[in-house]
Symmetry: C2
Subunit: 181 residues, 2 copies
Amino acid sequence: MTASQSEPAVGSQRSPRAASIVAAARRILEEEGRDALTMRRLGAAVGIRAPSLYKHFPDKSSVEVALIEIGFEEMADVLNSATDLDGSLAGLAAAYRRYALAHPHLYRLVTSGPLPRERLRPGVEDRAAAPILAVTGDPDSARACWAFAHGMVILELDGRFPPGADLDAAWTAGIAAIDRE
Amino acid sequence: MTASQSEPAVGSQRSPRAASIVAAARRILEEEGRDALTMRRLGAAVGIRAPSLYKHFPDKSSVEVALIEIGFEEMADVLNSATDLDGSLAGLAAAYRRYALAHPHLYRLVTSGPLPRERLRPGVEDRAAAPILAVTGDPDSARACWAFAHGMVILELDGRFPPGADLDAAWTAGIAAIDRE
DNA sequence: GTCTATAGTGGGATAGAC
DNA sequence: GTCTATCCCACTATAGAC
């Protein structure tokens, strides 16, 4: 603990300027999607020119990595809270879905495509996964459970279910199956 | 039936030139991924300049739509064959996974992001979904089942499971849960 | 730490000649 | 149906002045 002031754990260890850049990046991502997050757009959002951003971050992917870490941390918080309140698989699943639907573009950034694991702060990914493992018991069931939840969410976000589909019922059916374990 | 010769159902209703363009597009997609599929690259693969492609397709997305239709049709074939041979959920799931892993980039194109349903030949999507519905019985379970399978596949393709994860075991755990229904 | 200027790359698509 | 020439766009990133 070398920090001289209390501060949010998230985004850690950076200058205030860098923190405001990450905050702006998050705003752009969440409001307009991943393609809208460009260095020009990000510079404009924070009030400087794109090239100046490179004084704070070595490249664009470093900004994205910061966002991915935030997403994992928030997911960990959300799932831990759900477990504390409820303890049921259904409660955990509902919390997972709620977070993903509330932050679709951040969820996508965190869960889709290759993950630069070596650039993440250690343990960040595991802390988000822990609540699922805790409720299912074994790792294989946890992975199956996560795959189900991720599949449901990403198909919903992508509009892949038929227009009239009852997704609550599909979630319930899936959870019931797992729970019968 | 107005066709005067026997022909593969796939890619249908187009000039031979257009068919060869789609074939080349598929090759590029499968071998190098979606980003590699550009009009310049596609023209080169088929031996003409990019602008000439626009005599055969109105735009790039039309080529992609043709590929999506092919993907759906092949998936329908694969799942129907699995059902005919076996009839078990496990057999169906294995066929689903096998096809996706054999054609990762095509699978992604078909199942990820927004789907231009109105541009697809009618029924193409439903025919791929039918075998899953047939084995699960009700639509809610079918959607849960599909979400599980898609989640497992896409997380595997994206390298999202931990390096040592036993994915066969995770599949088995998920299928066992659904089967206990 | 900010700027301007710019390099370098690549993309989709159109016009008009042949 | 193919070509050349070209437009217009957008992006990441760097150089060098201030």
